[in-house]
């Protein structure tokens, strides 16, 4: 056998494109040619355009709708109102959290921007003109804009249409052990508290939401092109909501221009466009403009957090309690596992060995847009991570310790995994001190602390922020985690054709994450078919197996596992065929890197391509033809990515301006399939985290008018503000995942906001400033400095 050189081995590895290769993306070609195919690019014969008339009031009774002026415009086909929908039992729809949501308002409007009527016309311009002429007679009511107002006794009831609803409370939910936590606090040497607000922000993918609904009145087939991160789940929900036969519904989620959780819920626009297409008999396109997107679709957070950590006299954390109040807007429409009303917030013990924890969560209706869990977050993990990392910063200040020391003293130790957390999670694997050490070394932490001391002596403000986050991603298992009853498994179907080329079909759906490349690489690794020979298909419910979709960093943990497992199924079938070709015993067949051999004869090789051809041409007696399979993977546990992020800031005392000087991010997402894509995901997440920490804010005035309803008010980082990131890694594989991967899409958005804010607080804590809520804008920092008598 020829001796392989290191170079030849590396060349073969690159050509195969298996796990660990930074393969350039297969999907790039169409995008760099301007040939991506997004929903708004879909044009069908006879297609009409729909524009939504929205409420200018946050809370008002509808006394009448006059659409006669709109209907008088040539080219207007219909004006759909809630009253019309009610005749078809479609004025209300179920939400993903078991509540109901108005499709088009009939009785009242409950937030500014709520859908009131839809104009359908021959062109978008005509529809816009006509929408401005739909006259709605409103009787304004008092608006409730905070959950604190909402739960006050005697507050006006927003959801007065709901039977038995006599206040604005949505849920009360608890996790952990109250008695054990109370006992821990009773024996604490020190208790450190933090009250903070995670403000409302918005995923704002660059492509807004929309659909083209095409219902064929003759066949009854419903084809809906739709910005959907979860096309299969949406098909089922469409069948339930609209009463359409599921086998006639085909959801096609084409290229998505970003999602970040914004494209998980079902919005009224989808439902009305579908109903309108059914009633009119022509395709109907509805595409949001940016204001539609920012004022009405799935936002994130708006979460009030108040909690404490109990610390013993050796500086160890012994208990954690947190009280939460969430503003869910007018409808409880979070897309989250149904058994967990505060999502996975109970991961709040984070990277720390805290033996007792108790979490109390309450949700309230307000006169604001519905949502809460979107934006690159595995169901409120972002809030949890922010809270614990900010609280640990406060604890370090109170203990008079370096924040690194406080963390090292309390980390779950590497030998403690699998680790049972006080709030009920079993962490799969981790090595928190190692990630911390790598980050500190990359930053040159000790030198910077010296510089900070020198600057402080001169009255200059410099801070170093630390955050060591732990995430929980990759839901299910299905028994415990479901959305609207649908268990959170995911699927992969793999077909190897006679020539040895393959098609992989998935239940998940890329929004830019590079699935067409990454998932082909898993097949390459497992089956030895080069990634360039594997086509990946997603998003079309007619042609892909049922899955729950892509959000909460679940594609790689669940869909990736399904891909590995289906590849192994085919590998095993290949052994039966190989045994036949070799005329050997199956037990003696060996497989490695796409090559089958008989034990003891390594030079006599049948490649996976030979086996694929034989699967259609030369099969053993009694074996089913073909080389294809499907796997529905129900994960035994979730995965727990982690990392340490360090941020250095300089603050101008005169203006309050914060300048991020350095940002070091060490991520451990287990095995990295395509390191280039992983780093791209981290860059994006760190930028969104930066935006949330310093710029992005959806807020409301007392009357419920949304402030932040366009990109002039809702500020998104450009290349100019965005820091230059320095990335590092450690690799601690997940022991239960077939390829040891954990998922990475959201780590950076989850972990980074606390690092940025901790850096600001680290610069200011010696002045007695202990908290500034996000976004940390110059005016807030300036006001905090002035409140402590710092003038310039």
């Amino acid at each position: 056998m020829a001796v392989e050189t290191a170079e030849a081995t590396e060349a073969a590895r690159q050509a195969m494109g298996g796990i660990g290769v930074s393969l350039a993306r297969k999907e790039d070609a169409r995008f760099i040619h301007g040939q991506g195919h997004y929903v708004d690019d879909v044009v069908l014969p006879g297609m009409l355009h729909m524009v939504i008339v929205r409420s200018p009031h946050a809370h008002a009774r509808i006394k009448g709708i006059d659409s006669s002026a709109a209907m008088a415009i040539p080219g207007v086909i219909a004006v759909v109102t809630g009253e019309l929908l009610a005749q078809h039992n479609l004025a209300w729809m179920p939400t993903l959290s078991g509540d109901t949501q108005a499709v088009l308002a009939t009785d009242k409007v409950r937030f500014q921007g709520q859908e009131v009527a839809c104009v359908i016309a021959e062109t978008k311009y005509i529809a816009e003109d006509a929408a401005a002429l739909v006259s709605v007679d409103y009787e304004p009511l008092q608006a409730i804009t905070t959950p604190q107002q909402a739960i006050e006794p005697g507050a006006i009831v927003i959801r007065d249409e709901k039977e038995g609803q006599t206040d604005n409370k949505i849920y009360h939910w608890e996790a952990g052990d109250k008695d054990a936590t109370d006992a821990a606090f009773a024996r604490a040497a020190k208790v450190v508290s933090l009250e903070t607000f995670y403000p409302r922000c918005h995923p704002a993918p660059l492509e807004t939401c929309g659909c083209v609904a095409d219902l064929d009145p003759v066949t009854g087939n419903a084809t809906i092109y739709m910005t959907s991160q979860a096309p299969h789940a949406h098909r089922t929900l469409f069948a339930i909501v609209a009463g359409l036969p599921e086998e006639k519904i085909r959801i096609i989620s084409p290229d998505l221009g970003g999602g970040f959780g914004n494209k998980v819920p079902i919005y009224p626009g989808y439902v009305v466009a579908t109903a309108a297409s059914l009633l009119i008999g022509r395709p109907v396109k509805w595409i949001e403009d940016r204001t539609d997107n920012l004022i009405s679709t799935g936002f994130a957070r708006d979460y009030y957090m108040d909690g404490s950590v109990a610390i013993d006299d050796s500086g160890k954390f012994i208990g954690l309690r947190v009280n939460l109040l969430s503003d869910n807007g007018a409808f409880f429409a979070d897309a989250q596992p149904s058994k967990f009303k505060a999502g996975l917030f109970h991961i709040v013990t984070g990277s720390y060995d805290i033996p007792a924890a108790h979490i109390v969560a309450d949700g309230a209706y307000t006169n604001k847009a519905p949502g809460g869990v979107a934006y690159r977050c595995s169901f409120r993990v972002t809030e949890a991570s922010y809270f614990i990392e900010r609280l640990v910063e406060s604890a370090a200040v109170e203990l008079g310790q370096d924040p690194v020391t406080t963390r090292l003293n309390n980390f779950i130790q590497p030998e403690a995994f699998p680790y049972q957390s006080a709030s009920g999670f079993e962490y799969d694997s981790g090595d928190y001190p190692r990630a911390m050490k790598v980050a500190l070394d990359m930053l040159g932490y000790d030198e910077l602390r010296k510089e900070q001391a020198e600057k402080r002596a001169k009255g200059e403000l410099m801070g170093i922020g630390v955050a060591s986050f732990t995430e929980v991603v990759g839901a299910g298992k299905g028994k415990d985690y479901d959305i609207a009853g649908l268990r959170m498994f995911d699927s992969a179907e793999l077909r190897v054709h006679p020539t040895g080329k393959a098609i992989l079909k998935l239940g998940v759906k890329s929004q830019g994450q590079g699935h067409e490349t990454t998932f082909a690489q898993i097949v390459a690794e497992e089956l030895g078919i080069p990634a360039s020979d594997v086509e990946v298909r997603e998003g079309d419910t007619d042609n892909t197996p049922f899955g729950l979709g892509t959000y909460a960093s679940r594609s790689t943990p669940v869909g990736g596992a399904a891909t590995a497992m289906v590849s192994r199924k085919l590998r095993d079938k290949g052994k039966l065929i190989a045994a036949h070709l070799f005329e050997a015993d199956v037990a003696d067949i060996e497989f490695a890197k796409g090559k089958y051999t008989v034990k003891g004869s390594p030079d006599n090789v049948k490649t996976i391509q030979d086996i694929a051809f034989a699967a259609y041409t030369n099969l053993p007696e009694g074996l089913e033809a073909g080389l294809e399979g499907v796997t529905y993977y129900d994960p035994p546990n979730m995965t727990f990515p982690f990392g340490t992020y360090l941020v250095v800031v300089d603050i101008d005392k005169g203006t309050g301006q914060v300048k991020v000087r350095r940002m070091v991010a060490v991520d451990d997402c287990g095995v990295r399939i395509n390191p280039m894509i992983v780093e791209g995901q981290i860059h994006g997440g760190l930028t969104e985290g930066f935006g949330i920490a310093f710029m992005e804010l959806i807020t409301f005035d007392d009357e419920g008018n949304c402030i932040g309803s366009n990109f002039m008010d809702y500020l998104i980082p450009t290349a100019w503000e965005t820091p230059r990131f320095e990335l590092g890694e450690t690799v601690t594989p997940s022991p239960h995942h077939p390829i040891g991967a954990k998922g990475v899409g959201e780590s950076a958005t989850v972990g980074s906001p606390a690092a940025y804010v901790n850096a600001v607080i680290d610069a200011l804590s010696h002045l007695g400033i202990t908290n500034i809520d996000m976004p940390v804008t110059s005016d807030k920092v300036w006001a905090a400095l002035r409140s402590k008598g710092v003038t310039e």
């Binding site: 350039a24 790039d28 760099i32 040619h33 660059l206 290229d255 994006g684 990109f711 290349a719 965005t722």
Partner: protein
């Protein structure tokens, strides 16, 4: 009204309502969907095209303003089956994820390095700051433009030699 202009090297004469936005003209009337709409307020740059070589936001231009002008869209970047250096840069440096901002980013990047063949990182960041990307964090977009600038420099040197 009739508007006559050149787009990607081809002369076009189209009948449009005067209020038609250029981005809608390009996408709907001409069927070239590589130019995208992201914000309607000139903030995001997904609709960027080159007008006589300069990047402009086509969501804030009216169709009659094209009269007699030359427009370049993403569809006009590759020539004779050969990718423009900016397209190669974006692919090689992983300068795109969802692809929605990419046409605008590439056109801005191309105009930038044509005006300034050796930009610093700060000059690139400032030059693309009228275009928003939600996916990449800009790190690899900067590298993609640097990649294209380096490739152009090599090609020019080769041409001289």
């Amino acid at each position: 009204m009739k508007v006559t202009f050149e787009i990607n090297g081809a002369e076009k004469s189209v009948d449009v309502e005067p209020r038609t936005l250029v981005v809608d003209l390009i996408r709907t009337k001409l069927g070239m969907t590589g130019t995208h709409i992201g914000c309607d307020t000139s903030n995001c740059g997904a609709c960027t095209v080159l007008l006589d070589g300069r990047p402009v936001k086509s969501c804030t231009l009216l169709a009659p303003m094209l009269e007699g002008k030359k427009v370049t869209t993403v569809e006009g970047l590759a020539k004779g089956g050969k990718l423009d250096s900016i397209q190669v840069g974006f692919h090689e440096e992983h300068g795109l994820q969802c692809g929605f901002c990419t046409p605008g980013m590439m056109l801005v990047g191309k105009a930038l390095i044509e005006a300034n063949p050796h930009p610093t990182e700060d000059e690139i960041r400032w030059g693309i700051s009228g275009n928003i990307c939600r996916c990449t964090g800009y790190m690899n977009i900067v590298k993609a433009i640097q990649h294209a600038a380096a490739a152009n420099a090599t090609e020019n040197t080769a041409g001289v030699a």
